[in-house]
Amino acid sequence: MAASSKKWVLGVIAIAVLLPLLQPVFPDVVSNYRLFLVSTMIIAAIAVLGLNLLTGFNGQFSLGHGAFYAVGAYTAAILMDKLNVPYWATIPAAAIVCFIVGYLFGLPALKLEGHYLALATFALALAVPQILKYKWLEGLTGGVQGIVLMKPEVPFGLPLNEDQWLYYFCLLVMIVLFWGAANMLNSRSGRAMMAIRDQYMAADTMGIDTALYKTVTFGISAAYTGIAGALSASAIAFVAPDSFGIFLSIKFLIGLVVGGIGSLLGSVLGGIFYVLVDNSAQSLTQFIRNDLGLPFDLSAYTVFGVLLIAIIYLMPMGIAGGLYMAYRKLRGARA
């Protein structure tokens, strides 16, 4: 990582850390709800990062990452609900469970390429809500009703409210995970992952254990997304099977494509983006209905769908890549 981009990252982290402290100063701008929204953006960014590790850096497609998100969320929820495990301890537990599930799914995925892998993961995404409702698991998962949880409590008597603490907790997890991902990608293993993406045959010939790397990457990717799922279970304090359908996976995909495939920064942008669109769709609909007078319900997915296609045409590298190219052009023009 270049020194200048390191400075940028530290600056952004500093701003993020200071954000809740501004709450007494600007109570209207930094409301509890907004902080909660930012927390969900952080969770989304982690989930998209998980998908990006697999698709962006290892070249394996997944349209079914919602499944791993669900496994993470349910692992956390069941641990909290049945075994009274504290919420922070569910994060590593979810990571381990999701790593194992992802690794196992990565084994058949080894034999599949391109469209076929997309197909298998798409099928997985479609089947997840039903699997969660399976009768034998009902005792654990609560069936259709799902599980109602408690919000994380503020520890050590810190002078924070629940939303502020949740925000800091998510931020901490995100920093650790992004730091880990950046280091991993910068290592020998990371280069091997990317070599498999770019030149599978050459990587194999060079002595990289492609099967091992692909399955382990699948596991790590699932673990990242699963951690995001566990965080979301704590944040929303509720899990139910029907919130983990195919459209959750589509949201991760939009985060990946909009942010930028194969870009760490892009994962953050992508996460922020899809939460924003998801949340503003309702007010947009009201705007269309009341101000434009059209009897038309704009769903976030219309925006997502149009954007998915538009971005493939206009900015194949996503927002992060597009900005970077524009920046380079500007600098090139000046020099």
């Binding site: 099928a123 479609l126 009768k135 195919i246 219309t302 769908g305 998915l308 296609i309 493939i312």
Partner: protein
Amino acid sequence: MEQLLQQFASGLANGAIYACVALALVMIYVSTDHINFAQGEMAMFSAYISWQLMDWGMSFWIAFVLTVLISFAMGVLIERLILRPLHNAPVLSIIVVFIGLLAIFNSMAGAFWSYLIKEFPSPFPKADFGIAGVIGPHQLGVVLVTLIVLGLLFVFFRYTPLGLAMRAAAQNPQMARLVGVRVDWMLALGWGLAASVGAVAGIMVAHIVYLEPNMMGGILLYAFASALVGGISNPAGAVAGGFIVGILENMVAYAGNQIEKATGVYIIGNGEKLTVALIIVIFVLTVRPAGLFGRVVVKRV
């Protein structure tokens, strides 16, 4: 025994629908090597169009024919406008575009016609149709309509010059172009036909699962399973796969039901239909990717 026959017959009816959607998938796959993830939502959208036409007062079969024609135009337009420019794009871009189409069709149907479940009429007369106790009138009708569609397609591809040109364009685009086939338009026509076949499936299934924007999710998964079982590069195989998977689906549920009755242990039932399809998809993909009737593709490295 009668119950088993009933299950078998309703498996045939479901299988007919899977066969239609699977056939649509295969038609696009054979000509372009793409798996159309939006096929189910396109069929759902077509079903809504025909509902709208009937709501405006048309009779079922007129709406049916019009919908098939509109869907054909829709398929051609999608190919020409959206997919044509991405002819040489990487696989990921194509998949993303299909997912985008899926999201658009799904949300637009919700926006135009709301997410409330609608009833969809059946065109088949209640009395004197079907075999009492074995197969209902709508189920029998679905199987018949599917067989007619398949017959027409077979005749079209086997005996008409245009069908021959389309087959040539799919099999060997360069050579086809050399002998004067307009390959680009053949691909667009393939898309149009696929959308039409999907529309037939959508209209036929809407009476069974009721009309709502998410109605095709499970059916698309089963269609994928069917296409894979039959071999995704083989149209006749996809049809056979559709019937096989349809019957298998009902037989699995029936067996689960019998086991529960005999032993009181619940293993599998109607609630696990999608899981069964998922298992079929992954099993076929890993064990025999060419399916039962597909051609094994040998790749030179």
